[in-house]
């Protein structure tokens, strides 16, 4: 009981926020029943990208260490499903994948997270290519094949599996925000030296956070493998899967939980539109959005929306709630 009390938001607005969240989750839960089949498939893709960019934000957005390893953990998940899919049901494979992602990320973090951020970025980027080459070499040398056929799953079931990861991730993120661990991460992002000074074990915190952020990515990778139906190292370890979540998170804004959600939603919809008719320019627009998001939207779309809202409110209710301005800045 005490735990629930600690986790549940204390204010009225907080409860409203939780209620709305439950509504969205409930809506998503009944959604496949009322929508057309392709809409379910597409929504699962949106959820997949949301999970990826939320996971990325959870570690990189907070600490400032830019990870380009998303594709690596995603691919690990895909391979776990490809190997285990015939023997165990998808949810079990997803759990195994999450555990594998967690352990591998912890190992990589232990090596690279003691170093400066740029080494971490380089290494995580290289990791995707390393795994791609390594898995390819193993497959060809020992299995005389390149790809694996994955037992294909029912798309509604896959949707629910991904939705489950999404809900778990959201709950975890909310709990984490209010925990010691979350605060320690925040501290590291603001100033790593002073975080160490006040007694945060920075390396351990970073490694743990990186490992936690890899688990949902691997789980989703396992689920998506059943939809692709056939994987090989080039499909599983695809660099674009590292870039997209970063772009989405930065575009949406990494300072709140809703930024990445918003970014993933908008950019997935944009991709869906652009890929038909504008495919020549799709990647160019992708690059341009990346540049604009970094250099002109330091707080992302969420930050812009917030400042517009604050301005509006200030104009409507001048100086009535000075306390709120301070509160908003703290967040």
């Amino acid at each position: 009981m005490a735990f629930i009390k600690r986790v549940l938001p204390g204010t009225a607005r907080g409860r409203l926020h939780l209620g709305a969240l439950i509504c969205v989750a409930a809506f998503l839960a009944v959604f496949p029943g009322v929508s057309r089949p392709y809409t379910t498939i597409f929504t699962a893709s949106i959820l997949m990208y949301i999970i990826l960019s939320l996971s990325w934000t959870f570690f990189s957005g907070k600490t400032g260490y830019i990870s380009l390893a998303t594709a690596a953990f995603y691919g690990i998940g895909m391979y776990i499903e490809a190997i285990l899919g015939r023997y165990i049901p998808l949810p079990a494979a997803m759990l195994v994948a999450a555990a594998a992602g967690f352990l591998i990320a912890a190992g990589i973090g232990a090596i690279t997270l003691r170093l400066r951020g740029v080494y971490f970025t380089i290494f995580t980027f290289g990791l995707v290519l390393l795994l791609q080459n390594l898995v390819l070499w193993i497959e060809i040398r020992f299995f005389h094949t390149k790809g694996r056929i994955v037992t294909s799953g029912d798309f509604t079931f896959v949707y629910y599996c991904i939705l489950a990861v999404f809900v778990i991730l959201l709950i975890a993120a909310v709990i984490m925000r209010r925990s010691r661990f979350g605060l320690a991460l925040e501290c590291i992002g603001q100033n790593e030296d002073s975080a160490a000074h006040i007694g945060v074990d920075t390396t351990r915190t970073k490694i743990l956070a990186f490992a936690v952020s890899a688990a949902p990515v691997s789980a989703v990778g396992a689920a998506m493998a059943t939809r692709v139906g056939y994987i090989d190292p080039n499909i599983a370890f695809n660099l674009l899967m590292s870039f997209m979540p970063v772009l989405m998170a930065i575009f949406g804004g990494t300072h709140s939980l809703y930024g990445p959600v918003f970014g993933a939603l908008v950019l997935t919809l944009l991709e869906e539109k652009l890929i038909r008719g504008y495919q020549e320019y799709y990647m160019i627009i992708f690059g341009a959005v990346m540049i604009i998001a970094v250099s002109f939207m330091p707080k992302g779309a969420a930050g812009i929306a917030e400042s517009v809202f604050l301005k509006l409110r200030r104009r409507l209710r001048p100086r009535s709630h000075p306390r709120n301005d301070g509160g908003a800045r703290d967040e």
């Binding site: 380089i122 290289g126 290519l129 390393l130 990647m283 160019i284 690059g287 990346m290 970094v294 250099s295």
Partner: protein
């Protein structure tokens, strides 16, 4: 014996190209603190410019260094003056800037790569240059590879002389060592950074011209060069030009040796070297 000689000489050829590939990246990172992921695209762009000049006008490929070098210097300079300077201005601290700069460089990479694809397609491109063998100590070598080695070595030496003997070169080294002190001593830091970014482009152009003589290329190969350049730069020590040259040659020879055993595990071996390095000596061979 022939085999050792083959590995050694081909290793030197590859090493010289690796060194050249990474010098530009190293210069850009050393002073401007930007890990330019679009470096490989600059190289490919120079290769395409060379190819156009050689096949359309029939000029000697080396003359393309003037054209491609000038174009890429301007592009590099302008990119820093506009984009990266802005990112620098809005970044709260140095670490945040490094992260943001990588992301912006990725944006540039996507745009450049796709513009080149629209212009030149995605097929393998190349032209024939000095396509005859030379025999050294009983082993056969490609004349064009030896030519590339000689030229790459000349560029490495010239660039080092430039850094140590000219005024601009000295201010670049000062800015790389300590930007704050350099500014106090009257170095215009923003200008030097932009010049460094331009020089990075110029060196990419040199690499691109030489690569086009010796290898085929296409609009999608740029990232491969970037990956090699990054590996070389990390091994040599981020920002150390001499480190890049040294590690370029080391990786060239190690790579050629691995290649003669099994070409398909080359990248894996390179990454394992980096992995060991990060555990044992993260600063790199000659890093500060």
């Amino acid at each position: 014996m022939t085999m050792v000689l083959t590995i050694l000489i081909n290793g030197l050829v590859f090493g010289s190209v690796y060194a050249l590939l990474s010098m530009g990246l190293s210069t850009q990172y050393g002073v401007a603190r930007i890990l330019n992921i679009a470096h490989g695209e600059f190289i490919v762009l120079a290769s395409f410019i060379t190819w156009e000049l050689v096949t359309d006008l029939g000029v000697h490929p080396l003359t393309a260094i003037a054209a491609a070098g000038a174009i890429l210097f301007v592009i590099g300079f302008a990119l820093h003056r506009t984009l990266f300077k802005r990112v620098r201005d809005i970044s709260p601290n140095a670490a945040a800037f490094e992260g943001d700069a990588i992301l912006v460089a990725f944006g540039v990479y996507f745009i450049l790569q796709n513009l080149m694809r629209i212009k030149w397609g995605s097929q393998t491109t190349g032209y024939s240059f000095m396509a005859y063998p030379v025999s050294i100590g009983g082993a056969q070598f490609q004349a064009r590879s030896l030519f590339v080695f000689a030229f790459a070595a000349v560029i490495c030496v010239l660039y080092n002389l430039f850094l140590s003997h000219t005024r601009t070169g000295k201010s670049i080294r000062a800015a790389a060592q300590d930007p704050v002190a350099a500014r106090m001593l009257g170095v215009k830091i923003n200008r030097v950074m932009a010049i460094c970014f331009g020089i990075g482009g110029f060196l990419a152009a040199c690499a691109g011209v030489l690569i086009s003589m010796n290898q085929t290329f296409s609009s999608v190969t740029g990232l491969n060069y970037t990956v090699i350049a990054v590996i070389v730069v990390v091994l040599g020590g981020l920002g150390s030009i001499r480190g890049s040259i040294l590690s370029g040659f080391i990786l060239g020879i190690v790579g050629t040796a691995v290649n003669s055993y099994d070409p398909s595990i080359m990248l894996v071996v390179f990454y394992l070297i980096i992995l060991v390095l990060l555990i044992v000596r993260p600063k790199g061979l000659l890093g500060r």
